[in-house]
């Protein structure tokens, strides 16, 4: 009945070809709740709402059995790089 982390990952990989993907099963084992961090160049020029819609669309089959999907990050590779540089900078500053 539940969905596996691997199913979520494979759907996202095949549809959004992410350069970074982190899927965490937050359901405590029943497979009904996931948190997703995704970086994909397909998000280029898209607003956050559109990016979330793309993730939801990629998981349309899985969503039938998932009760809660938390998209904690949906970035373009460029944004991801910028964030990393910023966090490195702030670490240097400390």
């Amino acid at each position: 009945m539940g969905v596996t982390k691997e199913q979520v990952e494979s759907s996202l990989r095949s549809k959004l070809s992410p350069s970074h993907l982190d899927v965490v099963d937050t359901s405590g084992g029943c497979g009904a709740s996931f948190a997703v961090e995704i970086v994909s160049d397909q998000f280029e020029g898209k607003r956050l709402l559109e990016r979330h819609r793309m993730v939801n669309a990629a998981l349309v089959e899985e969503m039938k059995d998932i009760h809660a999907l938390s998209i904690t990050k949906a970035l373009t590779p460029e944004q991801q790089l910028k964030k990393q540089q910023e966090s490195e900078k702030s670490q240097v500053a400390i």
Binding site: L48, L49, H52, R53, N56, V60, M63, H67, A68, L69, S70, I71, T72
Partner: protein, 164 residues
């Protein structure tokens, strides 16, 4: 601000009254209810919902009602539970954010009406709740609200919406 909101509410009472009274009279307004039930009395609302799920939950009537509801207030939140008693952590997050910003908002408890719940998923093209509408437009779910709150975008948008 409170004055203008009161005026707003008085000028558009119909969608609110119809949504508020949904649990008792809503399903009977749906034209295909009896057709789906094959003329037999429906055993329970649960059975009815399961049957209806095969069809589109978003009837033209529901769409018209929702068009009015999402524009009847500047900020409308479809959530699990109520403003004072959220029944889901994600819904609670959004309620707390809106409260902390002192934004006036209306909430609609989707747990009270399964048809509304299913129809809204199609209406917003969004699979989960909560769903936040600002100025009649779908803004996003919990993650988007949190991110927009942290970036300051939500505050800006709310200010603009509430002033307009």
């Amino acid at each position: 601000m409170s004055l203008s909101l009161t005026n707003l509410r008085q000028s558009v009472p119909s969608p609110w009254s119809s949504i508020r009274s949904l649990p008792s009279n809503f399903p009977s307004q749906l034209p295909f209810t009896s057709a789906v039930g094959g003329g037999r009395p429906l055993v329970s609302s649960r059975t009815q919902t399961l049957r209806l799920r095969c069809l589109s939950a978003l009837t033209p009537e529901l769409k018209t009602t929702l068009d009015k509801v999402v524009t009847s207030e500047k900020v409308v939140l479809f959530m699990k539970g109520t403003k004072d008693f959220p029944q889901c952590g994600f819904s609670n997050n959004v309620v707390q954010i809106l409260k902390s910003l002192n934004a006036p908002f209306e909430t609609i408890n989707i747990l009270e009406n399964e048809l509304l719940r299913q129809g809204l998923k199609e209406y917003s093209s969004w699979p989960t709740f909560p769903q936040l509408y600002i100025d009649g437009e779908f803004f996003g779910g919990c993650d988007i609200v949190i991110e927009a709150y942290q970036s300051g975008e939500l505050q800006e948008l709310l200010e603009r919406a509430l002033l307009s």
